[in-house]
Chain length 228, copies 2
């Protein structure tokens, strides 16, 4: 109500809320208080209070007891943070010897501290990449984001060959494990066997045979050769 919402008048907390809500509303379905609380590791009342403030600021649409969605303004601010985060991750991996499993938490802090200028300098140094080291698309400076269609490995048919294009995972340990198997964006895999009812998937990559569980097979997004 008081001051106009300029990009950098948002606090660290507010930026985190917006980013979380963005992540929780991929198909436009509203995010619940408890989902947000869980993602940010906060209590539900804390979230409830902040949500109220943010909707008064015009960043959220809140239907009490129903859920929360970003307004156009909130979405813009959220995408700005996503761009920052993904460019920072890309930069740290490319120029400062970070690995994809350690880069997340560093970016998580830096994204609140960098200036727009610095972000754009990093983007330029990287040659304006369209995806980050996990294959996540990087929004443009004016807030456009292009989610390429991709199929979870868990859903591929036996015999299909595909390229891993994206790994939707932040947990360092899991990422480290996937890296040891060579399962990173760019890797080519062939499905040798898939057990039903969420069972493991057997794949071949780099001439080796791997068996991976459902949980991991769901975060590995693939582009099937024919579709490209």
């Amino acid at each position: 109500m008081s001051s106009p919402i300029t990009a950098d008048s948002l606090t660290r907390s507010v930026e985190d809320y917006l980013k979380a809500i963005y992540r929780l509303t991929p198909q436009g379905r509203p995010a619940s208080t408890s989902e947000i609380a869980h993602l940010l590791e906060l209590s539900a009342p804390s979230v409830s209070g902040m949500v109220k403030r943010l909707s008064e600021l015009g960043l959220l649409e809140h239907l009490p007891y129903k859920g929360v969605q970003l307004t156009a303004e909130g979405r813009r601010a959220a995408l700005r943070m996503v761009r920052r985060h993904r460019l920072i991750e890309s930069y740290l991996v490319e120029f400062l010897a970070y690995s994809w499993d350690t880069v997340h938490q560093e970016a998580e802090r830096l994204e609140h501290a960098v200036s727009d200028t610095l972000v754009e300098r990093m983007a330029a140094a990287l040659g304006h990449p369209s995806v980050d080291p996990h294959g996540d698309p990087i929004p443009t400076a004016d807030g456009a984001i292009e989610e390429l269609p991709a199929t979870p490995l868990a859903v591929l048919e036996t015999g299909e060959t595909a390229e891993i294009v994206r790994v939707v995972e932040n947990d360092a340990e899991r990422l480290r494990y996937l890296a040891t198997l060579g399962l990173k964006p760019g890797a080519t895999i062939t499905v040798l066997d898939r057990q039903p009812f969420g069972g493991p998937v057997t794949i071949e990559t780099r001439g080796e045979i791997q068996v991976i569980g459902q949980a991991l097979a769901l975060v590995l997004l693939c582009a099937v050769g024919a579709h490209r």
Copy 2:
């Protein structure tokens, strides 16, 4: 009193206070409340309150109504911030096309957000420099700092030739002005004339003749050729 003081449990504010007090106590003379307040652009009561908390935390030695000094612990934390700040400035200038007049405010925010790991990665990428773009010495990771003896240009005798080794100035406009005159670390200058009573100094550098006022001549620290 409650928790042990680990390096990264310090808030942004606390880090700023420690850095300010470090800057204000170069010769061990205690810093006054109002000096700190002025440097941090805060009210005196705010500083008074924070000083109290920090001395209870064991980071400061406070004699009420007299002044404040850093304890060994506080000094260590302050030097850690100084190292971060100066390495970040160096990195941004070297790799991300920052100029010495714009780099300060960016570093001022980043220094609170980077991890020790990132700082050391930047140091390595830079080849472990001993000074930053302004010629300020960079403390080592274990808190040693070596202030090289240097003489303000304002104090040099007529006829003396010296090398600028350090420019003690944060103001972007002044730095930009000095850069246009070529007065940066590494520049060689000869004093042609010095007016008494804080009057201007006439110097020659790069084959050009410049007249600079006392205020600027005081921030340009020089190493006289013979002394090296």
